[in-house]
Amino acid sequence: MNAPTEPTIFEKSCPGSNPGRYVPAAEGPTPAELLGPAGAELLADAPPPLPEMGELQVVRHYTHLATRNFSVDANFYPLGSCTMKYNPRVNEWAAAQSGLADLHPLTPAPLAQGALRLMFELSRDLAEIAGLHATTLNPAAGAHGELTALKVIIAYHQSRGQKRTKVLTPDSAHGTNPASCTVCGRSAVPVKSRPDGRIDLDDLAAKLDDQTAALMITNPNTLGLFERDICRAAELVHQAGAQLYLDGANMNAILGLARPGDFGADAMHFNLHKTFSTPHGGGGPGAGPVAVAEHLAPFLPTPQVVQREGRYELDWDRPDSIGMVRSFAGQFGMFVRAWTYIRCLGPAGLKRASETAVLNANYLAAKLRSLLPLPHELPCMHEFVLSAQRPGQDDRGLAGRIAKRLIDFGIHPPTVYFPLIVPEALMVEPTETESLAMLDSFVAALAEIVRELESNPVVLDHAPHHATVAKVDEVAAARSPVLRWQ
């Protein structure tokens, strides 16, 4: 029922139609009067040219827009590396509670004990899940966690008089890993992957030196494979005086099964929006808590939630801390959701979640490997990467075409063209919350698409056919960017 074009709110604007009576109307002295002689130069001549419309118009607009999206609530969404699991509604209820949602961030600790206890418990829970010593909840997302942890590691090295200018990242790493290095003034040095998809220990050993601050590794890695040699890698890293940083984006594979701290990580980030079921919100917000080993704990950012004599408070007085990485104490609303999730699942539920995520991925991989090349051996962990580069064929762009065609089946495409080391990569992460029937219908859809590829490939070229819009011209968008309505 969607129209191909939905007018923007600016096109729907009707001057005079919205008196804005949500709040009291301004009466009494004008701002110009109240601001005194200085007022004139400070005040704008006219209000900003925002659109005007009645509440019904607003409701219709955003109701229409909502139906123009794929979402976990409406679609299978096997977007690899993003853990698009079900986002329980009880978490939304929790985050909206008065006493949590309406709590000012600078409320004195005695009046914010519930919020602080929640944060304290979540920090502790995450440390336990990580097998590490302490957690900061401050970082706003995974990349922010990487940045925070790198700064902690740098501060640690500096406390030992070392500068260490480079950071190793496997060639399969997520783009945020090298980008975070740059933001921290460190150069990112790629480490090769072996043909079996794991980190090449020889290359690692060769690149580790006394200028290496850390190895950032993702485990399971972005191919969905567990780094079998993780302990040996950790050993090499530590021998070089560097730190092992774990990108925890893939923690959904190993909850209660293995802990980064136990396989050598000194620091790691979590993505609460992946592993702990907080919703992705069309791009965010997430939260990227960082857990660290004891030797790194003094350097964690401020504030840190602490418990003292049974009372909870924010500790701002941390002399070795790297400082603040954001205002206030973090994405609190996400903490409420993650806390609720962890309380609901408990240790058994978390383990079962990971086990089932692994089961679902292996099931799909086993079914799909006959349709498209699967470059790495099974078992995988919670996700796997197919290649739409079939042997001996010119399949350039095929991953993208398959992705677009999947939209016609009501399925959100997998992550495409990542990791970079697999040509025409299709990275599939089903998560633990899908039904077998849904997994099977995904297999059926891909099978149909592969059949079309033989019989009628043009169908793929022009896909999607049944989406809100036809194929979108991204090249034109970048050529002459139109970034605002005018």
């Binding site: 923007t8 709110i9 301004a26 009494g28 200085a38 209000p47 005007e52 409701v59 909502a66 794929f70 986002n87 209820w93 008065s98 006493g99 309406d102 709590l103 961030p105 600078l106 009046l111 706003a140 995974g142 783009g175 090298p178 290095c181 003034g185 150069s187 190993i254 802990r259 992705h280 919100g281 069309g282 791009g283 917000p285 400082g323 603040m324 990485v325 954001r326 205002s327 206030f328 609303g333 609720t340 609901c344 699942l345 408990g346 240790p347 979640a353 078992p379 633990e432 809100t468 819009v469 036809a470 194929k471 979108v472 011209d473 991204e474 034109a476 970048a478 960017p481 970034l483 605002r484």
Partner: protein, 450 residues
């Protein structure tokens, strides 16, 4: 309570398809010696009913603005949130989508963010706005990084009174970079024009000025400073408050190059500090250096208007170490909330919010200023909706304790930020504060001050 749908018999069937005897077999790549041989040491799982009780208990141990009339500001404000914002932003199809990589499956989010970008341009009077950053302080750090990259200069000047969190975050971000970060102290609660002029040497990357500043005062010298900044070859960066722009001059008309701010006042719950919304707008010249997502307008294969992520070559997933920022996940849902808020409240409503907040803050300041023992150190300067109150020596803690008993949060204690202000409280007033609450605060101050 968990959310797994696979049944025991399906698990067996799936294992058979896989050709594995057990899930353990699938986990064989994990070295046995690092397998966790015990359950995680966490409380046992709860039913949903129990979990709700536990949450309600926690919530009851804190006192939010519903139960504590909130005169606290300092970067987060208790403005009224129309009911329609919650109702529309919580729609599952917004809530449970992710970054709109696949444009055809994400036109809803994309259009909402495109509209958000436009709204922020309208508010700031600048050319380009991105689709959100984490929150105000890290948005400022990103702006400074962008200026450093753009100018090739290495000197960053922060004009106090800048929100201390913002200052610290910039300092943390710059700490490991070859950038010099100079903090110029305030003078009489405002940016010190003379001292700043001296600090604006020609290796200047950026000057950062907050207005309304941390003490609530509206900075008067932005155009003058901008001129000096531009003469030094740097970028003029303003930290702004989105509500204030309903009535105050817009950054774009004051010579500002990059405007960043905290979007929380635009329909986002206080929520103990997050998730909030980093606003980022700048002049056209920076468009290929902007951090974060940008949504562009284009057409689909049938010529219909469509939207997509654009200029992605700025971003980490394409450019990796050479990206303009490391940000990936942003604050999409908060940007959506801000857009819905602005669409619902409209320009007249926003002007009401700003004006009534300003009026109440001024009325309250006047009354407090008249109380014996209290002073308004910056009372003679123009302020927006927040002001500093100097209390009788040692009275601050008593004020907060007595306030809690009467259901009042009197403001923000400034001593935590600056020891020289140990007797000062930063008091904010929004359109939500009633006459009765203002009376109660004045009475409280009067009584504690006696």
């Amino acid at each position: 309570m968990d959310y797994v749908q696979i049944t025991d018999s399906q698990r067996q069937q799936m294992l058979a398809t896989i050709g594995a005897g057990s899930i353990e077999e699938l986990l064989r790549d994990i070295p046995p010696d690092v397998r966790l041989g015990r359950p995680l040491d966490l409380p046992a799982g709860l039913t949903e009913q129990e979990a709700r009780r536990a949450v309600r208990e926690l919530a009851g141990e804190s006192r939010g603005a519903d139960r504590l009339a909130c005169f606290a500001g300092g970067g987060a404000y208790d403005h009224y949130i129309p009911a329609v914002v919650d109702a529309l932003a919580s729609q599952g199809q917004f809530l449970t989508a992710y970054t709109p990589y696949q444009a055809e499956a994400s036109q809803g989010s994309l259009q909402a963010f495109f509209e958000f970008q436009t709204l922020i341009c309208q508010l700031t009077g600048l050319d380009v706005a991105n689709a959100s950053l984490y929150e105000g302080a890290s948005a400022l750090a990103e702006a400074v990084l962008m200026a450093v990259d753009d100018t090739g200069h290495r000197r960053v000047v922060l004009a106090e009174p800048l929100h201390p969190h913002y200052r610290r975050v910039v300092q943390t971000y710059m700490a490991d970079l070859p950038v010099e970060c100079v903090v110029v102290p305030a003078k009489a609660g405002q940016a010190d024009l003379d001292a700043l002029r001296t600090a604006l040497t020609d290796d200047l990357a950026a000057l950062v000025v907050q207005s309304p500043n941390f003490y609530g005062l509206i900075e008067r010298q932005l155009p003058v400073l901008a001129e000096a900044v531009h003469a030094a070859g740097g970028a003029m960066v303003q930290v702004f408050d989105p509500i204030s722009l309903a009535i105050l001059r817009r950054p774009g008309s004051q010579g500002v190059d990059v405007a960043v701010g905290e979007g929380q006042p635009l329909g986002i719950p206080l929520s103990f500090g997050g998730p909030y919304l980093g606003l980022f707008a700048c002049r056209q010249q920076y468009v290929r250096r902007v951090p974060g997502r940008l949504i562009g307008q284009t057409t689909d294969a049938q010529g219909h208007r469509a939207f997509c992520l654009t200029l992605q070559t700025r971003e980490q997933h394409i450019r990796r170490a050479k990206a303009t920022s490391n940000i990936c996940t942003n604050q999409g849902l908060m940007a959506l909330r801000a857009a819905i808020y602005l669409a619902a409240i409209g320009p007249h409503g926003l002007a009401n919010v700003a004006t009534v907040s300003l009026q109440r803050a001024h009325a309250l300041a006047r009354r407090i200023g008249e109380l014996p023992g209290y002073a308004l150190p910056f009372g003679d300067q123009p302020f927006f909706r927040e002001f500093v109150v100097r209390c009788p020596t040692g009275a601050v803690d008593r004020l907060f304790d007595a306030g809690a008993e009467r259901g009042l949060l009197p403001g923000v204690k400034l001593g935590a930020f600056d020891e020289s202000l140990a007797d000062c409280v930063l008091v904010a007033c929004t359109e939500k504060r009633t006459e009765a609450e203002m009376d109660a605060l004045v009475t409280l101050l009067a009584e504690v001050g006696r």
